[in-house]
Every structure is written in C-alpha cells, then in structure tokens.
C-alpha cells in the first residue's frame, strides 16, 4: 500500500495587519473617526479576503510537499512560527490551504489540544461523550470503550462530578484518555504530551508508542527533542514555512539544534561602552558543546564550555587575571548565576597579545530560554574590562537534565530560574 498521507505543494497565506496612519489635526481626526466604521468594515472583510497587496501577506506555509507511509511516525519540528501549527491545522481540516492539496487515506484523528469541548458544568462522564463525539467518535463506540477510558484516566471516583471541580491535571488525564482511545488510522498530535505529571507523560508516550506499533501512522509535533527522538523514525524540519530538511530523526534533530542561528548582536564590536582600565579586552565569547564543537544553543543538562578570548596591547606579562561571567534572565532582567575563575581557585596569565580561556560546566542546570551573558576581567581587585551590554546570549533548549527522559519544560507552571537534581529515598 502506498503513502497514507500525501502533501503536495501546500501553501497557506495569512493577512498581516497593516498599521493605520495617524491623523495630525483635530478636524481630520474627527473626520477620520466618522469614517472609522467604513474603514473597519474594509479591514474586517479583508481578514478573509486576501488582497493582492503583497506587503500585507504572510506565508505561513510555502510549497510544502511530503508523504508519509503507513505505519510511519513522522516528527515535525521547527522554531516558533515555522508553520508547524498551520500545517497541522490544514491536515486536521480546521483551516483551508491557500494552494496545494493533501490526500489522507484513512480515518484521521487530530489532537491539537487535550480535552477540547470540555464544559466545566458537565460531569466527567458527560464530557467524555462530549469530547469523544467532537473528536469524531460515535456514541456506541464511546459506550464500548467507556470503562477503558475511565480506567486509563484514573479519575474513576470523580467521573460523575462536574469537571469544574477537577484539578487541571485530572482534566488533562481525562482528555488524553479519550483521545488515546480514538483508534484512528492516522493520528495527528500537537505537543499534547507536554502536559500532566511525569507518570502520566510516560503513560502517554507509552500509549503513543503502542499506537504506532500497531501499524498506525502518526504525525507528531513537539519541541521536546527527546520525545521526538524516542517516537519518530523520520522528521521534517520546517523553516519559515518551508520544509528545510526531511530526513531520519537523528539528522533532522541535529540540524534543528544547530540551526539556532548565532546572532551577532554586536555585543563586542568596537565602540561598545566598556568599563575598566582597558589593559585587557574581552574579544569574543563563544559556546561549545561538551565535545568541543561550537554550538549556538545548549540543552538543559548538557555539558558546555564557555570560551572567552582576551587580548592585550601591552607587551607585558599580566598575571593574576580573574575572569568571571554572569548569566542573566532576559525576561526578568535578574541574575541567574555568576562564576569567576577565582571562585574555583584559578587565575590566568596573559603572556603575549592573546589568550583564550574556557569554563567547562558538566550539567548546565538552566532551563529553556534566552539568557544574557556578561563577563568581566579583574586583576588584583581592579576592573580591567567590562563590556556593559554583555558579551552574548546563551540560548537554552529543553533537555534531559535529570537523565530520566523527563523534560522540565512544562512540569511546573512557574519558571524556575535554575534546576536542582537530587536523589530521593526513604529514610531507613
């Protein structure tokens, strides 16, 4: 049998909001507000009618083609805004493509959200039926699987309680339990595994593996590379709405991780404001992985090296150089951590015009996100160089910090600024 999913030249365009021009006089502003309904009408009408004005058009997907064989598990990865969700929405028939076509051979179930259609006032039982029928099941089908669904969800005791009294975890479990029993031939899943507690996540991944083992075709979008790698055989990398790589899962994931383009934000260009005597200057900051290869992102829990190049125009030997860096959250502008070489009993000697030093960290306990790295060189209590804007960004992606396959990404709602790992045991 041929491919189960065939996508040919798929494109989707959206209209971007065009900024309104500002009026400068009171009269024209008043006139303008009188005309506002007319303008609003045009604008709202154009939400659906795509004008030929190319400036205001955004291609969420551009000429995407691929096919999926029966029983294959295809991972779809890409940065935010790469078109993953749009692709899934078209495949799930939620939105129409602008060009191209898709052929789906088999019963499709798409899970873009867990517990779609749950109504807080209805009981768990009623919501199972509600959610199930929304996902395309028939009542008889749900009847026959009901016990199994409730059992899988683990909320038996509360099945006749209105869902509004459920904890968010219970809702998710019930929602996934329904979805897990859809029994489709093609399953489209968007990031739904990233919810619920660890035990339940395991159960979900197990269930997905079971589904794929039974010859079902799965299309799976996730930001969790570990989940993608454990479930998928092949992966697509979307980039700006186009398929940039369609290869085995390991090579696509590698390309994805490498593809975080290093951003030269001019942190260390000449002319940036610096403090210090200037006896030594920080020339560059680079991130390397645990194997000594330059990278632009690091995964939480991975080993990394932060390398700093220093230069001096003085022809004298400078000893006792103390180099330190600090990591700041870009969201809250707060200090996450700081480490000087002297803290761990190390100073450097610059003999000549240039030296590169590195700081190796074995398991980086920093969660996903973008951080600002600042660095400073000190000597005998005197600041030699401190680029005030910092030296570069540290981009973290979610990784297997605990070595258990569990990602931190959505375990907690609060965002920890750094992570701990420890051993948990019973006290004898």
């Amino acid at each position: 049998m041929g491919s189960v999913v065939e996508v040919k030249g798929l494109s989707k365009k959206y209209r971007l909001g065009v900024r309104e021009k500002k009026e400068e006089t009171l009269v024209s502003a008043a006139w303008n507000s009188l005309l506002a309904p007319v303008r609003n009408f045009r604008r709202i009408r154009d939400l659906s009618a795509l004008s030929s004005n190319e400036d205001s058009i955004f291609w969420a997907l551009r000429d995407v083609s691929f096919s999926v064989e029966k029983g294959e598990v295809l991972g779809i990865i890409g940065h935010n805004g790469a078109g993953k969700s749009t692709l899934l929405k078209i495949l799930s028939q939620i939105t129409d493509p602008s060009e191209g076509e898709v052929l789906l051979r088999g019963r499709v179930a798409s899970l873009l959200e867990v517990g779609t259609g749950f109504h807080p006032e209805l009981t768990g039982r009623e919501n199972v039926y509600m959610n199930g029928t929304i996902l395309g099941m028939r009542r008889r089908e749900i009847d026959s699987k009901f016990a199994e669904i409730v059992d899988f969800s683990g909320v038996e005791k509360h099945i006749d309680t209105p869902v509004k009294f459920y904890s968010s975890g219970m809702k998710v479990r019930l929602g996934f339990a329904v979805a897990a029993h859809l029994d489709p031939e093609i399953l489209i899943v968007d990031e739904v595994l990233a919810v619920g507690d660890i035990g339940f996540q395991r159960k979900c991944i197990g269930k997905m593996g079971e589904v794929s083992g039974s010859g079902k075709t799965i299309l799976f979008v996730s930001h969790q590379m570990a989940a993608i790698q454990s479930l998928c055989s092949r992966a697509l990398l979307l980039h700006h709405g186009r398929v940039s790589i369609d290869d085995t899962v390991s090579s696509t994931v590698r390309a994805y991780l490498a593809g975080f383009e290093p951003e030269d934000s001019g942190f260390l260009h000449t002319g940036v404001s610096r403090k210090g005597t200037g006896l030594v200057r920080i020339e560059s900051f680079e991130l390397f992985d645990g194997y000594g290869a330059p990278v632009s992102v690091a995964a939480t829990g991975a080993s990394v090296e932060l390398r700093f190049s220093l230069s001096s125009e003085q022809a004298v030997e400078l000893d006792n150089l103390d180099i330190g860096f600090s990591i700041h959250s870009t969201e809250e502008d707060s200090l996450v951590t700081i480490l000087y070489s002297s803290y761990v009993g190390q100073t450097f000697i610059l003999d000549g015009d240039r030296i590169t030093v590195k700081c190796r960290i074995e398991s980086l306990p920093i969660p996903e996100g973008r951080y600002l790295v600042k660095a400073q060189v000190m000597r005998n209590g005197e600041v030699l160089d401190f680029p005030e804007r910092g030296v570069g960004y540290l981009d973290m992606v979610s990784g297997d910090f605990y070595g258990t396959g569990v990602h931190v990404r959505k375990l907690t709602r609060a965002r920890p600024s750094f992570l701990l790992s420890g051993s948990w045991t019973t006290v004898q």
Binding site: F41, I94, T95, L103, G106, S110, G136
Partner: protein, 273 residues
C-alpha cells in the same frame, strides 16, 4: 472503515455534505444536551426559567399593552392573546441570539478540531427546543384554565412549527456566519431582536395593520407563524393560509440561503474566529 479525504483550497459556493453531517449526529445530540444542561446548571429554578421567561413577558405585556394601551386582542383575553404569540416568538428570538454567537462561544472548538460547523448553530436551535416545549406545555395549561378548545386546524401545527424552525435555522445560520467575522452582529442583535418583535404581531393583532401593507407585512414568516398559532388555539381569525404560503416560501428561501451562505463562509471561520 476506509476513507479518503482530499483537502484542497475551496472557493465560492460549495456543496453541502449531508452524509457527513449525519455521521456527526451524535455530536449534534451531545452539543444540544450540553446547551441545555449548561444553561440551567447551578441555578435554583433550573428549567423553571423556561416557564418564567414567557410567563412574565406575557404578564408585562398584558398590563402594558392590554390594560393600559388597550390594544385590540381579537376578542380573546389579552393574556392568552400574547402568550400564544410569545411561545413561538421566544423560541425564535432566543434561537437567534444563541445561534448567532454559537461559533464565537465555541471558538475553542472551531480552531482546534474538525467537524461540520453546521452542528453548532443547529445545536443551539435544538437546545432551545426544550424551552419551546416547556412554553408549549405552559400554553396548553393556560388554555385548559380558560377552558378553550383548539380548533380542528390544530393538525396544521406541524406546518407552523416547520416554518418556525426553518426561519430560526436560516437566520441563525446567516447571523452566526456573519458574527464570526463581524462582532457587531452580537451587539446589534440584542436590540434588533426587540425591534423585530414589534415588526411581528406579538403584542398587537395583524388586523390592526392597514390592509394595503398586509402583503408586505406577511413577508415576515413569523407573521404567519404567530397568527397561525392564534388561529389554531384561540380561533381569533380563520387559518391564515395566504400568510402561511408566503411564510413558507420566505422561510424556505432563508433556510436554503442560510445553509449555503454558512458553507461558503465556513472555510474562513478558523482564521477569523
């Protein structure tokens, strides 16, 4: 079950896939049920509200229009005169407001799952059906109290209800499709429904409308429905066949147009919702 789906860009007017709609009948059922249950959940009177709403409106109209303004009620007690009209009218107006917002309130479904979108306005109409039945029972009770026996034209009741349903569904579909994109509909509707009530013979009899305007007036399918109800249950006038035929034609037109208009707009729902 082997099933092949082809997804391509849709343009212009499209066909309606009744087979698919039928396949989702269970969803329609549960959405209807959800509409009913969720509406009366955590309210003391529960379904009692379905009695209170038409009853109190009737009482107010009886005092204001019947006793104070002394509007002619074709010789029957004004209370019954307006209650008979309010039972179908309340259904129509509630359906209108509810189905118009059905796509917006269910935007989370529309943007997350595929299903024939038609089930949303359909289910809002059906869940209002319960209120209609309750109102109808109330009406029967009142007729009993007043000792009024419906005329033999009561067998034409299904015809009246058919027009009522087609009008409600048709307008509901048109408004819901428009309301996704133009939220003005939602705001306009609250007072539009009130205005519409005066464009239908709810608080006054059609006999008060000048003869030369009656033809145009009866283009409103609710005219035939309301006067039909009055004729059947109160015998105020003889059965208004003429208005009924106009009403049937207009409501069928509304229904068919609504159906196709809805399908035509459907493809942009998830993009603009």
């Amino acid at each position: 079950m082997f099933q092949e789906v082809k997804i391509t860009p849709r343009r212009g007017w499209v066909q309606i896939n009744f087979k698919e709609l039928f396949r989702y009948k269970d969803l329609l059922w549960f959405l209807t049920l959800r509409g009913i249950k969720a509406k009366y959940a955590q309210s003391v009177l529960g379904v009692g509200w379905a009695v209170i709403q038409p009853l109190f409106s009737t009482l107010v109209y009886t005092v204001v229009f019947g006793n104070l303004a002394r509007i002619d009620s074709n010789g029957v007690p004004y209370f019954l005169f307006s209650l008979v009209a309010l039972v179908p009218w309340t259904f129509f107006s509630n359906t209108l407001t509810d189905s118009a917002s059905s796509l917006i309130t269910n935007a989370n479904l529309v943007t997350k799952v595929y299903f024939p979108r038609l089930v949303l306005p359909l289910s809002s109409v059906f869940s209002k059906g319960v209120d209609f039945i309750i109102g109808f029972v109330l009406l029967m009770g009142m007729l009993l109290v007043y000792g009024i026996v419906p005329s033999t034209t009561v067998i034409l009741l299904p015809w009246l209800i058919l027009i009522l349903l087609m009008t409600s569904l048709g307008t509901g579909m048109i408004l819901s499709a428009l309301a996704v994109q133009y939220r003005d509909i939602k705001y306009a509707l609250t007072f539009l429904v009130q205005l519409l009530m005066y464009a239908a013979p709810v608080v006054y009899p059609t006999t008060n409308v000048p003869q030369e305007f009656r033809m145009a007036y009866s283009l409103n399918p609710m005219v035939g429905v309301i006067e039909g109800f009055r004729s059947v249950f109160l015998g105020t006038i003889s059965f208004p066949y003429e208005w009924m035929w106009t009403g049937t034609a207009v409501s069928a037109g509304l229904f068919v147009f609504g159906l196709f208009f809805f399908k035509r707009m459907e493809r942009v729902f998830s993009d603009v919702a």
